[in-house]
């Protein structure tokens, strides 16, 4: 199986380790991974801030880059939700505005083939034990778009439960938003910071060493709050936990 890795602009620039982890896991499971170099950004920040027309060329670019793969895998729930949930809407709106079918037609081949990373492992590859070893106490934060838009459900937890050496502890108020929300963190920074601080306090109360999630944008916000509040807990992307083995342990 030949899949394209859609890493997202945030991961590419700030969290390359997540990308390397995804490549390691997928390759280890016998999947042929390609990273199309022309990829950039899904346009979510533009779309969600109200610049839908600016997001459209990015969606078209996405379809040009990713058409032709059997599957497109992304380690980001929110960028995955952008493609799966909002791209079709963009196509519909363009049609409703009398701009014809071309955007919808361009997006059609990529939308149903786009999978969030944990969803791809569980649903497409049918794997929950990837042979990982991670000797730490971990708590899991389900991000809003992963949980509500994509409906990831307990897929990430099933993957985590199969990790050897790891203790998984429940996060109180897990399904509450961490307060990132893209430009929300800038436009409503007081409320955003208060939400982040509550999330971090809840995580701290679990006694875990690591808070893990399937989206680095949320982890950036939570992690930034953690270091500012001088907590001992660290943010780690789920892919990096799943890529950790006894031979090559991740910290």
């Amino acid at each position: 199986m030949r899949v394209a890795l859609f890493l997202t602009c945030v991961n590419d620039t700030l969290y390359p380790g997540t990308g390397r982890a995804v490549v390691k896991i997928l390759t280890g499971l016998g999947v042929e991974v390609d990273f199309p170099m022309a990829q950039t950004c899904c346009g979510q920040a533009h779309y969600n801030t109200g610049y839908r027309h600016q997001a459209e060329p990015l969606a078209r670019h996405f379809s040009e880059v990713f058409t032709g793969y059997e599957a497109i895998v992304t380690p980001s729930g929110s960028c995955g939700a952008m493609v799966r949930e909002l791209y079709p809407r963009m196509g519909e709106r363009a049609r409703a505005e009398g701009r014809g079918n071309t955007l919808a037609a361009a997006l059609e081949p990529v939308v149903p083939k786009t999978y969030e990373f944990t969803e791809f492992l569980v649903d497409v590859l049918g794997v929950t034990d990837v042979g990982a070893y991670y000797p730490h106490t971990v708590t899991y934060h389900p991000t809003c778009h992963g949980m509500r838009s994509l409906g990831l459900g307990d897929r990430p937890l099933r993957l985590l439960r199969a990790v050897k050496g790891m203790e998984l502890v429940e996060l109180p108020g897990a399904d509450e938003c961490c307060g990132f929300g893209g430009t929300f963190a800038l436009k409503n920074s007081d409320v955003s910071a208060a939400m982040g601080a509550d999330k971090v306090r809840n995580a701290e109360a679990t006694g875990a060493e690591v808070l893990c999630a399937a989206d680095n944008s949320c982890l950036m916000h939570i992690g930034g709050t953690m270091t500012r509040l001088r907590t001992g807990i660290r943010p780690v992307h789920i892919a990096e936990i799943l890529a950790s083995t006894e031979e090559e342990p991740a910290v």
Binding site: C41, P57, R89, G181
Partner: protein, 492 residues
């Protein structure tokens, strides 16, 4: 809408005070978290919740699509039952009609059933200006009125107050309005409720005019419906000689049968009860019982303009259950007042900028008062996709576009103050459309990473004031990929 909130600062500024008020934060957190858990249980009891939610959505959409027909049918039914129907296009007209009707009775005071519509138009203030005193009879509404405060929640207007604060308000203010609070009033629920009961009873027995809203209006029979928990509303609906109901036009449903859906979903969503304790229905007038005169004031006040918007019109499905407020993490921290409207929380963030337009500072900021986490959509019993409408309204704010105002199509210009953002968005889009440019930027950033501050100047300060930025990696992923896997060179 009412003049009450004119001059409100934009949402982020209004929220700032609430976020930094520990009493308010504590009161809100406690109240919303308690009701949240209860609601979840009450909803889980129904095996057909999904079907009920879909049915509620369908009924409302159908009624809205044929609003003209059902409103005319309603007028005919109400008239046939002995009532009189008045049409009000905006708040001023509605207030004028109600004040005129009260004056015709020769009375100078009215008893009120809790009603969002009358708050929306600022009826109490308008009546006061005409020398008519309006007494709120809903317990929480009474607390707000006595405290010269503003409501901060749809269902529990005094949610931001704790019992100690309420005791002080009662002890201080009740004597100004009627029967004073008993000496040595304690802050227990029982004593507070008893003080309110005695204070209100005096008014119930005296009043000749009642003013209400309604949760639903049934077109086929001309019946109005109010659901409530205390029974005070029912007193106002049955004791006075004249009853005036002010209701938004979107509250009409085609048939009596439709109520079966909402009388299940509304109480479970709002108070987490299986059934609300009091369901009052009234149809025109009868000779033996209840008010002798009945007036229905049908209120537009921006609703037909909202209906003209294909994406935004779903906000008119709202049955004001307040479930979206109770799950909203932003509402929980910012409090209801920050929304600058009688409609706070997620529904307020999409309803107010549609009813009032996006021209004012507060209305232009409301579509951004959300992290788009989607919790509101998940709980809404009539499946309003609030995040979708928020993004749609954001587009209106930053890019302008066609809207309907007072029945006329106009093209809005982008709101002021977004020029810098728009430029940045365009520039980002330009760079992101060109992988080569993105890559050069990444490399430059990686190479100079030791020079990067952990806090940002300018608009980024809002972020780094409370959070640390992540350290930049040595090498962006695409460079690693190319080093390890070879492959194509720089694109475009």
């Amino acid at each position: 809408m009412s003049g009450t909130f004119v001059g409100m600062p934009a949402f982020p500024k209004a929220a700032h005070d609430a976020v930094n008020n520990p009493t308010l934060r504590g009161n809100l957190r406690h109240a919303t978290q308690t009701i949240r858990g209860k609601r979840e249980k009450a909803v889980a009891e129904l095996s057909d919740w999904t079907a009920l939610r879909e049915a509620g959505k369908q009924i409302k959409d159908h009624a809205l699509r044929h609003l003209d027909r059902y409103l005319v049918q309603l007028e005919e039914s109400v008239t046939a039952a002995g009532g009189t129907v008045h049409w009000a296009s905006d708040a001023d007209e509605a207030n004028r009609i109600v004040a005129g009707l009260v004056k015709e009775t020769g009375e100078s005071e009215v008893l009120k059933v809790k009603s969002m519509a009358t708050q929306e138009i600022g009826l109490n203030e308008a009546l006061a200006a005409e020398g008519i005193a309006a007494y709120e009879t809903d317990l929480a509404e009474l607390i707000v009125q006595l405290g010269e405060d503003r409501p901060s929640h749809i269902l529990v207007p005094a949610i931001h107050r704790n019992r100690g604060e309420i005791r002080d308000i009662f002890a201080r203010e009740m004597s100004e309005w009627g029967r004073p609070a008993p000496e040595g009033l304690a802050d227990t629920s029982a004593e507070l409720a008893e003080a309110a009961r005695l204070h209100l009873r005096e008014k119930f027995l005296r009043a000749k005019v009642g003013v209400s809203g309604a949760n639903f209006m049934v077109a086929e029979t001309g019946t109005l419906v109010v659901v409530e928990s205390e029974g005070n509303g029912r007193m106002c609906l049955t004791l006075p000689e004249t009853l005036i109901s002010v209701v938004g036009i979107e509250k009409v449903v085609p048939s009596w049968r439709d109520l079966e859906v909402f009388l299940q979903t509304l109480p479970r969503s709002s108070t987490a009860e299986r059934m609300n304790p009091y369901t009052s229905t009234w149809t025109g007038t009868t000779d033996e019982d209840g008010p002798k005169t009945f007036h229905l004031v049908l209120l537009d006040n921006g609703r037909t303009d909202t209906l003209a918007d294909e994406v935004g019109r779903q906000a008119l499905r709202c049955i004001r259950c307040s479930a979206c407020l109770n799950v909203c993490p932003v509402y929980e921290r910012a409090g209801g007042h920050a929304y600058g409207s009688v409609y706070p929380g997620p529904i307020g963030a999409i309803l107010s900028p549609q009813l009032r337009g996006t021209q004012s500072e507060i209305d232009a900021s409301l579509p951004y008062a959300s992290s788009l986490c989607g919790a509101c959509y998940e709980v809404c019993p009539v499946a309003i996709d609030i995040p979708e409408v928020l993004v749609h309204l954001r587009e209106r704010v930053v890019e302008g576009g066609p809207v309907t105002r007072e029945g006329t199509k106009v093209v809005l210009r982008p709101a002021k103050g977004h020029a810098a953002e728009r430029t940045a968005m365009r520039a980002a889009r330009w760079a992101l459309g060109r992988p080569g440019v993105l890559r050069t930027g990444q490399r430059l950033a990686s190479r100079t990473r030791r020079l990067h501050p952990r806090t940002l100047p300018g608009p980024g300060k809002a972020w780094s004031g409370t959070r640390d930025l992540p350290a930049l990696p040595d090498e962006p992923f695409r460079d690693w990929w190319q080093r390890v896997h070879g492959g194509e060179g720089d694109e475009k």
